[in-house]
C-alpha cells in the first residue's frame, strides 16, 4: 500500500510535468500566432465600412433572463453599436405580464407583421413586436423553453446573413461589429465565424490580477494557439460573429457559443471543405475584471459549466472531431485539476501515515505549484514578446509577480471550483428520450457539403 501510494504520487507528478510542458507549448504557439498577426497589421477601415451599403447586415441577439435594469441596459448597448445595418433581436423566454410591460415601455413596442420562420424548432412564439421609435429592434415573446430554445428562436427571427453574439457580462466597444466584420469580408466565402477580444485588464487588487492571469492564459491558448490550426473556440469575454446559414445548417444552438463553435468545426471537418473560423485579437471586447473571489468564482463556474457540457456531449455535437477540438481544453481544465487535487490528497495522507517521503511530496509540489508559477509567468512574458508595441511596463510587472501568490492557495481552491464546475451543468439530455428526431441537430457524418 505504502509503495503504491508513493508510486502514484510520483506518477501524478510526472504527468503534471508533462501536462505543464504541453500547456507551455500551447502558450508558445499562441505567442507565435499573436506575433504574426501583429506584424501583418490590419488597417482600420471602419469609417468606410460604416457608410458602405455593400457591408452585410448583422443581427445582434439578446436573450435577457428578466426585465431588470441590467438586461434593459444590455439591449440598449446593442442598439448603440456603430454599424450601418444592425438589427437587435430580443427574445423574451416566457416573460410575465410585468416583464413584458417593462420592455413595452422601454422600446414603445407595437405588434409587427413580421413572420418568424421555423427553420429551427422552438417553443411557440406568442407575439412579435417592433418599436414605434426609429430604431431597429425586434422583440419576440415566446413560450418558456430555456435559453437554448430562445437562441434558436432568435436565429429564426433574424433577417441578416450574419449574427452577432455579445456577452452581457463583458465590456465591448461601440465599433465592435465594424472591427469584427472586416476580417470576415476579407474571405467572405470561406469564413463562417469570427471570434474577437482581448484578455481582461488587471485591476488594483491581487484578485483582479489573478483574474487577469486566468483570462490571459485562456486567451492565448483557446483563442490564439487553437487558431493556428483553425480550431478557434470562444474564450471568456470574447464576442462572436457567425453566419446565420451556418448556424441553421448546424441545426441551431445546442448550448452556448462554445458548443456552437464545436459543432461548426465538427461539421466543417466532416464536410472536408476549406473553412475558416477566425481569431481577432483586437481590443473590442473583454471580460470585466473580477474584484472579489466570489466574482471570479462566478466567471469561472459559468465558463467551466459550458466546457463540461460541451465535453460530455462532444460526440453528439461534433462526432469524431469533438475530441480533437476539445482535447487541449480537457487536459487543462479537467484532467490537471483532478490530478493536482488527487496528488495533494495522496501526498498529505502519505506524509501523515509515513508512506510518502518528503522528496516525493516536494516533487509533486514542484510539478503543481512550480509549474503553475512558470506557466503564468510564461504567459505574461510571451504576450509581451508577441505584442512589442504594448507600452505598459507596469501591467507586465503586476501580472508577472501575481503568478506567485496565484499558485499558493488560490490555485488549489480553483482546482476545486473546476472539478465542481465540470459536471455541474445539469443532466445531459438524452437525445433519444427527451427530443424528437427533428429536434436533434443533424448528425455530423451526414453533413457533407454543409456549413
Amino acid at each position: 500500500m505504502a509503495l503504491a501510494i508513493s508510486v502514484a504520487v510520483q506518477a501524478i507528478a510526472i504527468l503534471l510535468f508533462a501536462l505543464g510542458i504541453r500547456e507551455f507549448l500551447s502558450l508558445a504557439r499562441g505567442c507565435f500566432v499573436l506575433r504574426r498577426i501583429a506584424r501583418a497589421g490590419r488597417q482600420n477601415y471602419t469609417a468606410v465600412l460604416l457608410k458602405s451599403p455593400m457591408v452585410p447586415p448583422v443581427s445582434t441577439i439578446a436573450i435577457p433572463p428578466d426585465a431588470s435594469p441590467e438586461s434593459v441596459q444590455f439591449a440598449r448597448r446593442l442598439l448603440e453599436l456603430h454599424y450601418g445595418k444592425n438589427e437587435v433581436v430580443i427574445v423574451l423566454d416566457g416573460p410575465s405580464g410585468a416583464e413584458m410591460a417593462v420592455w413595452n415601455e422601454e422600446f414603445h413596442l407595437c405588434p409587427s407583421a413580421r413572420v418568424i420562420g421555423k427553420k429551427l424548432p422552438t417553443a411557440p412564439v406568442r407575439g412579435v413586436y417592433e418599436s414605434k421609435d426609429p430604431i431597429r429592434v425586434v422583440v419576440i415573446n415566446k413560450e418558456q423553453g430555456g435559453p437554448v430554445d430562445a437562441w434558436n428562436a432568435a436565429v429564426n427571427a433574424c433577417t441578416s446573413p450574419v449574427i452577432g453574439l455579445l456577452d452581457p457580462a463583458s465590456d465591448f466597444q461601440p465599433e465592435i461589429l465594424l472591427r469584427l466584420i472586416q476580417p470576415m469580408l476579407e474571405a467572405a466565402d470561406e469564413t463562417i465565424a469570427v471570434c474577437g477580444g482581448v484578455p481582461s485588464l488587471p485591476g488594483p487588487g491581487l484578485i483582479s490580477r489573478i483574474g487577469a492571469l486566468e483570462s490571459l492564459r485562456a486567451w492565448m491558448t483557446r483563442g490564439a494557439a487553437l487558431s493556428e490550426r483553425n480550431r478557434t473556440l470562444p474564450f471568456p469575454g470574447s464576442a462572436v460573429l457567425v453566419k446565420r446559414n451556418s448556424v441553421i445548417q448546424a441545426g441551431g444552438f445546442t448550448g452556448g457559443p462554445l458548443e456552437l463553435f464545436l459543432r461548426l468545426h465538427g461539421l466543417a471537418m466532416a464536410a472536408g471543405k476549406p473553412y475558416r473560423i477566425l481569431f481577432v485579437p483586437e481590443a473590442v471586447s473583454q471580460s470585466r475584471t473580477s474584484a472579489t473571489l466570489a466574482e471570479l468564482r462566478r466567471q469561472f463556474g459559468r465558463d467551466q459549466r459550458e466546457i463540461g457540457r460541451a465535453f460530455f456531449r462532444r460526440v453528439a455535437i461534433a462526432g469524431p472531431f469533438g475530441w480533437r477540438v476539445l482535447r487541449s481544453l480537457f487536459y487543462e481544465r479537467a484532467l490537471r485539476p483532478w490530478l493536482e487535487t488527487l496528488g495533494y490528497l495522496l501526498a498529505i495522507a502519505g506524509l501523515v501515515l509515513g508512506w510518502v517521503d518528503v522528496p516525493a511530496a516536494l516533487l509533486l509540489l514542484l510539478a503543481a505549484v512550480g509549474m503553475g508559477i512558470v506557466l503564468s509567468m510564461a504567459a505574461v512574458v510571451l504576450r509581451e514578446l508577441a505584442e512589442p508595441n504594448s507600452p505598459d511596463d507596469r501591467r507586465v510587472t503586476a501580472l508577472f509577480f501575481a503568478a506567485i501568490p496565484e499558485n499558493l492557495g488560490y490555485r488549489q481552491l480553483r482546482n476545486l471550483w473546476l472539478i465542481a464546475g465540470f459536471r455541474s451543468f445539469g443532466p445531459i439530455e438524452k437525445p433519444n428520450r427527451r427530443k424528437t428526431k427533428e429536434d436533434r441537430p443533424p448528425a455530423v457524418s451526414a453533413a457533407s457539403g454543409s456549413v
Partner: protein
Amino acid sequence: MIRIELSVAGCLLGLYTLFLVAMFFAVRSRASGRRQRGIGTKTFTPQIRNALADYLAGSNDETKIRGFARQYRVEFVDSLLEFRGTVGGSARDRLCDLALELALVHDWCQDAASKDQSVRRQAYTRLSFVCAYEPCRRVAGELLQAALQDVDPEVRLSAARALVQSGNIEELSRVFRLAVSQSLLIRILLAEDLRRHATDLCRRAIPEVLMGDNPREVVAALQILVAWERALPLDGLHKLLDSDNREIRLEALRLAKLVALTPENRSLLLRFLREGDEEENTLAALTAGRLRLQEALPALARCLRTGTSELAGIAASALAEMPPKGWQTLQQIAAGEDSAAIIAAAALDRGRRKAGV
C-alpha cells in the same frame, strides 16, 4: 531515485524560471524605454502641427518646417499624414508639394520596393495620399501600376486607391477590373473611391465586365453599381435581367431602378412580378414602386393580396407611391378584413401623409 528526479525537476524548473525572469526584465525595460521614448518623441508634435497649419494657411516661411523635417523626420511624417482626412483641394496639393519638396515622396518610393511587407504597406498607404497631386504621381511613376500585381492585398488596395485619384480612364478601368476580382472588403473600399467616376466607367469598363463570361465578376460588378446608388447611363441591362444565373438576375433587379427604363427592362420587370419567385417578386415590387410603373398596378395588387408579409408590405408601399390609381387600389384592398387590408390601410396612410394630403 526520487531524489534524482526531484533534483532534475528542480534544476530544470529553476533554470526555466531564471530564463523567464531574465526575459521579463528584458521585456520590461523595453516597454519602459518605449514609454519614455514615446513621451519624448511627442514633444515636438504640437509645434510641427502648428507649423504645418501655418504653411497650409498660406505662410511661405519654410525654415521651421525644414528644420523639423530634418531633425524629427518620423514625427514630422506622422504629423503631415494626420492632415490626410482634413484637407482637400489646393490645401492638399500644397501639402503634397511640400512632401515632394522635402523628398518624403522619394523615401516612400524607395520603401515601396522593400521586401518587408509592413514597410511596403506603409509606403503605398502614404503614396496613395500624395498621388492625388499630379507631380507626385509622376515621381511614383510605374510603381503604382506594378503594385496592382503585388502579393499583398493591402498593397494592391493602396496602389489602386492611388491610381483612382489620377482620373485617367485607362487606370480607372484597371482598378475597376481589379475590384471585381478581389475580396468583398477590397470591393467595398474601392467602390467608394470609384463612385465619383461612375459615368466614365459606364462607357467601356463596366459594359466589358458585365458582358464577360465570369459570373462571379459580373455579380461583383453589379454589387458595386448598386452600392453607388446613383443613376447610371448603362445599356443592355435586360440581358442580365434575363440571365440564367439567379444571382445575376437578382443583382440586375436591384440595379434596375438606377438605370433608364427601356421597353425591354419594363417588360422583364412585369414578368418578374407575375412569374418570379418570392425574392424576385420583392425586388421587382421595390423597383416598380421606385420607378412608379403604372403597368405594374395589377401585379402589385396581387402581390399585396397573396404574398408573404414582407412582399405584401413592399407591394403596398409601391402602390402608395403611385397616386391616384395606386391609392384607389389600396383603398379597395383596405376595405377587406384580411391581413392585406391592414397592410394596405397602413401604406395608404403613410402615402397620404408623405404627400401632405
